[in-house]
């Protein structure tokens, strides 16, 4: 987010109006758009093309699972070799029972790294400042936040208003007109 750019937000009650506004904004050349919604919505995803850039959480999941399986395998094998004691006439390194430990470690570390992936990808990287958020977005309202230069503010505001926005906020301050 550019430091000296301006932030203008339109608040909506209806998803279809919001989707139309996003399309209109994008066709007018505004690409720094963030949409807020109380629940995930496919129409919003589609109009923003967020699906085109797949989430990187999957790499965390995959690497975590592989790492977990390797940790489980190394742990069981090396600790058995460290104190080699024969139980029930079975080999010192008896892989079939170890697979259970490997599986559990895979799920454990894979799951935890998925959580880490969510934290890193969703929050820490693109955090929205609190003044650019409206508390109604977790209730029943939807919002579009556009970042643009100061001279484009009016154009964006007109688009938002024309397309059915009920309230406009500029840099977090309600704009009455």
């Amino acid at each position: 987010m550019n430091k000296d750019s301006q932030h203008i937000m339109g608040i909506y009650s209806y998803v279809d109006l919001l989707v139309d506004s996003v399309k209109k904004l994008r066709s007018s050349g505004f690409e720094e758009i963030r949409v807020f919604s109380p629940a995930p919505n496919h129409e919003i995803e589609d109009c923003l093309d967020t699906g085109k850039e797949p989430s990187k959480v999957k790499y965390f999941t995959f690497c975590g699972a592989i790492l977990g399986a390797l940790v489980g395998l190394a742990f069981t094998i090396f600790t058995s070799l460290d104190w080699p004691i024969v139980t029930s006439a079975k080999p010192i390194v008896s892989l079939p029972p170890y697979m259970i430990i490997v599986f559990e470690c895979m799920i454990l570390i894979g799951g935890l790294s998925t959580f880490l992936g969510l934290l890193i990808n969703a929050r820490l990287r693109k955090d929205t400042p609190p003044e650019l958020y409206d508390e109604r977005f977790s209730d029943d309202k939807f919002g579009i936040l556009v970042s643009c230069s100061a001279d484009q503010l009016e154009q964006v505001e007109n688009i938002l208003r024309d397309m059915g926005s009920e309230e406009i906020q500029i840099n977090g301050v309600k704009n009455e007109e």
Partner: protein
């Protein structure tokens, strides 16, 4: 309040937030009364445990030959209860079953609390409970490591993984809902608590994109985990050569039984919660129908397993196995065996009738009977098999002592304590997920009726 169905889509969105917020208001005297009674039972359970530690394991009823008694029964029972929560939140999520939406948070909370209860019992069961950490593989002075060939150690890994993953899953699911509470709650302490717990969630499309993916991967991990954990628990028994335990049917039989008992417990919890907090608009007959049908399915699997055990005991020609099952059905513990058969095999099949499924009083009673039946199932498997093993000279009977029963009652109080706190502090309905199945607010649909 006006009829839910006549509300517009955005009013329904708000209605949901208000409903959840209303659950988090200051507890009434009714809640405090229930909580206080619960605390009394818990205190008695803690007293029993302290008495047992102070006096020695002799005060618990288990002795040779039955060295696994009510404590291990409780362990298996609570781990089983824990299973349906993840089933509802993960497996039914992958199957896109709509009826999971409004009950899955309750089921997940139940999972986490049930694992927290189950985890106590292997420790309570120990003669020197303060040495429980010897189960964990850690570098020590003598260079000793744990025995990875032992099913009891698999259990340590499986149950602790399950506790961790189900807690994280529970928390991830709640993040957007905690943010919703944060946005409306008043009071500085509460606001700070929910702000920290929401991890700064704002509901931007960017966040939702990563969130839905992460949730999906989590569900993919949790699904095989559900199946693995109770399979591992069943191997605690099936890996031993004791008659009645040493069968290959145990893992699927235990997994089905776990889901069966957990679903019954979800119904037991949902029915009072629904009427106390007036959640009829969200927890509907669709939810109860869905759960009832799952109960019919899992009950049939469990009942089939009961019959298969008998058949194989006869067909295998193994005298010890055969005698064990005859003893179960008409020996010293026959009453418990038949309670199990009736409660788990016959009672659930009344749910084939829609009228019974939709009569919540009867459904509630059926769910309680299933819980009782499933507790006795674990008791029967553990105790009856140990009471009559191979050598007639080492046969013996087991009767739970008051200490064991006190701790058992205390464990229920412990579980309900968490649940009572949960319904007053965290969103018991999933706001974001229910909004996914509610109609999306659209100008076109509302036409001229609005504005």
């Amino acid at each position: 309040m006006s009829d839910f169905n006549s509300l517009t889509a955005s009013q329904k969105y708000s209605h949901l937030n208000t409903t959840v917020m209303n659950m988090l208001t200051k507890p009434s005297w009714g809640w405090w009364t229930i909580f206080a009674i619960d605390m009394l039972f818990l205190a008695f359970g803690i007293y029993c445990f302290i008495y047992q530690v102070y006096t020695g394991l002799g005060v618990a009823g288990y002795s040779h030959p039955v060295l696994w008694g009510v404590y291990i029964t409780n362990f298996v029972f609570w781990v089983g209860i824990a299973h349906s929560g993840t089933l509802i939140s993960a497996v039914l999520f992958l199957f896109r079953a709509r009826f999971r939406m409004s009950i899955y948070r309750i089921a997940e909370a139940m999972t986490v609390f049930a694992v927290a209860t189950a985890g106590l019992f292997p420790i309570i069961h120990l003669g020197r409970p303060w040495n429980f950490y010897w189960l964990l593989p850690y570098p020590n002075q003598r260079g000793l490591w744990v025995n990875f060939d032992s099913p009891l150690l698999w259990d340590v890994f499986a149950v602790s993984t399950y506790a961790t993953i189900s807690s994280v899953f529970f928390f991830i699911g709640m993040i957007p809902d905690i943010a919703a509470i944060r946005d409306t709650v008043v009071g500085k302490v509460k606001k700070t608590f929910y702000s920290v717990a929401s991890l700064g969630w704002k509901g931007s499309s960017w966040e939702w994109g990563h969130y839905t993916r992460a949730y999906f991967y989590f569900a993919c991990f949790a699904t095989p985990l559900v199946i693995s954990v109770h399979s591992v628990v069943s191997w605690d028994f099936a890996m031993a050569n004791t008659p009645g335990w040493h069968t290959t049917i145990f893992p699927p039989y235990f997994v089905a039984g776990a889901i069966f008992s957990g679903l019954a417990m979800v119904i037991t919890l949902c029915i009072p919660l629904r009427s106390i907090f007036k959640l009829e608009d969200y927890i509907t007959m669709e939810n109860f129908n869905g759960m009832s049908k799952m109960i019919i399915l899992t009950s049939s699997i469990v009942f089939y397993a009961y019959l298969t055990e008998f058949f194989i005991a006869w067909y295998s020609g193994n005298k010890y196995e055969y005698d064990q099952f005859l003893y179960r059905a008409n020996g010293d513990y026959a009453l418990f065996y038949w309670i199990m058969m009736v409660c788990n095999g016959i009672v659930p099949h009344f749910l084939w009738w829609k009228k019974i499924r939709e009569n919540l009083k009867i459904l509630f009673i059926i769910s309680l009977l299933i819980n009782i039946g499933m507790w006795f199932e674990r008791f029967n498997i553990i105790v009856i098999s140990l009471a009559k093993e191979f050598e007639p000279g080492s046969w013996g009977l087991y009767k739970p002592s008051w200490v064991e029963l006190g701790i058992t009652v205390g464990s229920f109080a412990w579980f309900f304590m968490f649940f009572l706190i949960f319904v007053r502090t965290l969103p018991a309905l999933s706001i974001a997920e229910i909004k996914e199945i509610l109609p999306v607010p659209k100008k076109k649909q509302e036409g001229s009726t609005d504005e």
